[in-house]
Amino acid sequence: MPDQQTIEHLKDKALEMRKNLLKLCHYGGWLHVGGDLSITDVMTVIFEYMLHVDPARVDWEERDRFILSKGHGAGALYMSMANKGFFEPKEIFRTYGKLGTRFGMHPCRDELPGVEMSTGSLGHGLSIAVGLALSAKLKKQAHRVVAVMGDGECDEGTVWEGAMAAAHYKLGNLTAFVDKNGLSLDGFTKDIMNIEPLDEKFSSFGWNVVNLDGHDVAALVDVVDNLPPVTTEKPTVVIAKTVKGKGVAFMENNYKWHAGTVDEETLKECCAELDTKRESERTLQP
C-alpha cells in the first residue's frame, strides 16, 4: 500500500488539474470539460504514479505507451503531459483552439512530441494499443501499453474487435481504463444504448477485469501496484465508475456539460467549490 502522503499528493495534483481544466474552459474556449473532469483522477494516477515516460526522451524505447482512446479528453491529457514537462502550460492557455495551435480539441501526434497517437474518432484506440502491445511482445520489451477509453465509446464495434484481438494475442502488457461516467453526448448511456454489463462483456472476451470507483485515488493506486506482470496472458481492464463533470456540482451528471465554456465569475466559483471540497476531505483524514 502506498503511504498516505503519496495519496494526498496525488489528490492535490488532481485538484490542480481540475482547476486548470476549468481555467482552460474559460480562457481557451470550448472544451470537453465533463469528460475531462471524469478522467482527472484516473489520468493523475496514470501520469503521476504509473507511467514511465521522460519528456527529454520521447523516443525512449523502454517508455510506457499511453493512448487516449477517448481523444476528446485532450484537455486532461494536455494538463497531465504539461505537468510532466512535455510542454509549457502557458502555451496551452495562450493558444488552445486558436488558428495554428498545437492544442486542439483532440490531440495530434505530429504537433506534440510525446503524444503517442492522434486520437479523437472513437473506437480506434484499442486496436492501435493492440498493435503497440503486439510490437512490445515481438521485441520482447517490458514496458506497458495503457489506454483510456470512454464508456460511450464502447458502443463502437471496433472496441470489441480490439478486445477480442488483445485476448487472442495474449497481451498481458496491455491495460485499458474505461471511464464509466454513464453519459455520452446525447444523454445517459443506459437510455441511448445500454452497454452494461461492461465488466461481464470484457470478462467473456477473455480479459482480467477490475471494477473500482474512478475517483478513489487510493483504489486506483492499489490497482496499479497490483497489476499482473506484463508477461501474463490476459489483458487487464479497469472499469472506473466515474461522474461526468466531477467536482463541479452544476456540471455533475449533466450531459449538457459534455463540452462548453465558463465565464470568469463561474470559474472563480468552481475553483472555490473544488478547494472547499478538498479542504473538507483533508480535515476528515484520521
Binding site: R109, D110, E116, M117, S118, G120, S121, H124, L126, S127, I128, A129, V130, G131, L132, A133, L134, S135, A136, L138, K139, G157, T158, E161, G162, M164, A165, H168, Y169
Partner: protein, 320 residues
C-alpha cells in the same frame, strides 16, 4: 463479345500479380526484419501462405475484422514495423476507410495496403465484393499514394518502391492472370510509362485493363490510327507532365479503368487537363454511375464498354 486474337509479340505471357507480390514479400521478409504482414482471413486468397510459413512471428491473421486490422497495423507502424496489410479492395477502402484515413494517412504512417479483387475482377461475386470506388476514396486522402500496376511483374518493383515511400501506399490488384507487357521496364512511383508510342490519340490506362488497351491499340493500328498507350500506374501523385504531353501531342485522350468513371483515373486525368488549359477531345471509360450487373470480368468490361472493342469504338467516335 468479339474475340480478338492476341499478338504475343506485344503481350509476353500471363502471371498473377497476387502470386508475384506474395513471393516478393517472402524474399523481402528475409532481408527486412521490420516487415510484418497482416490479413483479415484472406491468407489463401491473397497468397500470403508462404510468408506465414517463412515468418510466422511476423504474420498476423486478425480474423474477419478489417478496421481492427488497420488500427493494429497503425500501432505496429508507430513502433517502426512496416506492415503490409492485405484484404479485398472493397473492404480496405470502405469497411476500414476511417481507420486508414485517421490512424494511417493522418499520421502518415508507413503502412502498405495491398488490395485485391479490384474493380469487377471478382466477377460473379457481385457488387458487395467489387472494389469499384477504391481509387476515388484513397485518392481523396492526404498523404496517400495510390497505385494500380498494369503488369503483374511490376509488383516486384512496386513492393520495393513502396518501401521507400515514408507514408502509406495503396496498391490495387485484380484477381486473375494479368498480361506481362514490359521487357525489364524500370518502375518509378509517380512516373507514367509510355507503353506504346502513337500520335493520333492516347489511351490512358491503369491496372487490369491494360490488356484491353493494348488490344484496342492493335485493332486501331490495323485501321491506320496511331495510338499512344500511356500507363498511369500511379494515380496519385499523378504524372501531370505525361498526361498534358499526351493531350498536347495527340489531341485526343481516352481514359480506361476497371473502376467507376467518377473518382479514379479518369477523374484524376480530367482534373489535370482542365487545370492545364490544354484542350483536347476527352472521354472516360469504366463503370458508369451504377452498381455493376453480375458476370465474368471480361463480360462486364464488354458490357460497360471498356474492353478492347469498346475502347476501339470510343476512340473512333472521338476521332470523327
Amino acid at each position: 463479345m468479339t474475340n480478338v486474337s492476341l499478338d504475343f509479340t506485344q503481350i509476353l505471357g500471363f502471371q498473377s500479380a497476387r502470386e508475384v507480390y506474395g513471393k516478393k514479400l517472402v524474399e523481402l521478409g528475409a532481408e527486412r526484419k521490420d516487415i510484418v504482414v497482416l490479413t483479415a482471413d484472406l491468407l489463401a486468397s491473397n497468397k500470403l501462405g508462404e510468408f506465414q510459413m517463412a515468418f510466422p512471428d511476423r504474420f498476423f491473421n486478425v480474423g474477419v475484422a478489417e478496421a481492427n486490422m488497420m488500427g493494429i497495423a497503425a500501432g505496429l507502424a508507430l513502433e517502426g514495423w512496416v506492415p503490409f496489410v492485405s484484404t479485398f479492395a472493397t473492404f480496405a477502402s470502405m469497411r476500414a476507410c476511417e481507420q486508414v484515413r485517421t490512424d494511417i494517412a493522418y499520421v502518415n504512417l508507413s503502412v502498405k495496403i495491398i488490395a485485391t479483387m479490384s474493380g469487377v475482377s471478382g466477377g460473379a461475386a457481385g457488387p458487395t465484393h467489387s472494389g469499384i470506388e477504391d481509387m476515388g476514396i484513397m485518392r481523396g486522402m492526404p498523404n496517400m499514394t495510390v497505385i494500380a500496376p498494369s503488369d503483374p511483374l511490376q509488383m516486384t518493383q512496386f513492393v520495393e518502391e513502396a518501401l521507400e515511400v515514408p507514408g502509406p501506399v495503396y496498391i490495387r490488384l485484380g484477381r486473375g492472370d494479368d498480361p506481362v507487357i514490359y521487357h525489364d521496364q524500370k518502375i518509378e512511383i509517380g512516373k507514367a510509362i509510355v507503353a506504346r508510342e502513337g500520335s493520333d490519340v492516347t489511351i490512358v490506362a491503369c491496372g487490369t485493363v491494360m490488356r484491353d488497351a493494348l488490344e484496342a491499340r492493335q485493332q486501331l493500328e490495323n485501321d491506320g490510327v496511331s495510338v499512344r498507350v500511356l500507363d498511369v500506374h500511379t494515380v496519385k501523385p499523378i504524372d501531370t507532365e505525361a498526361v498534358v504531353a499526351a493531350a498536347k501531342e495527340t489531341g485526343h485522350v481516352v481514359t480506361v479503368e476497371d473502376h467507376l468513371t467518377t473518382g479514379g483515373l479518369g477523374s484524376a486525368v480530367a482534373e489535370v487537363l482542365a487545370e492545364s488549359g490544354t484542350s483536347c477531345r476527352f472521354k472516360r471509360l469504366g463503370i458508369p454511375d451504377t452498381f455493376p450487373i453480375i458476370g465474368e470480368p471480361h463480360e462486364l468490361f464488354h458490357y460497360y464498354g471498356y474492353d478492347a472493342e469498346g475502347i476501339s469504338d470510343t476512340v473512333k467516335q472521338i476521332l470523327k
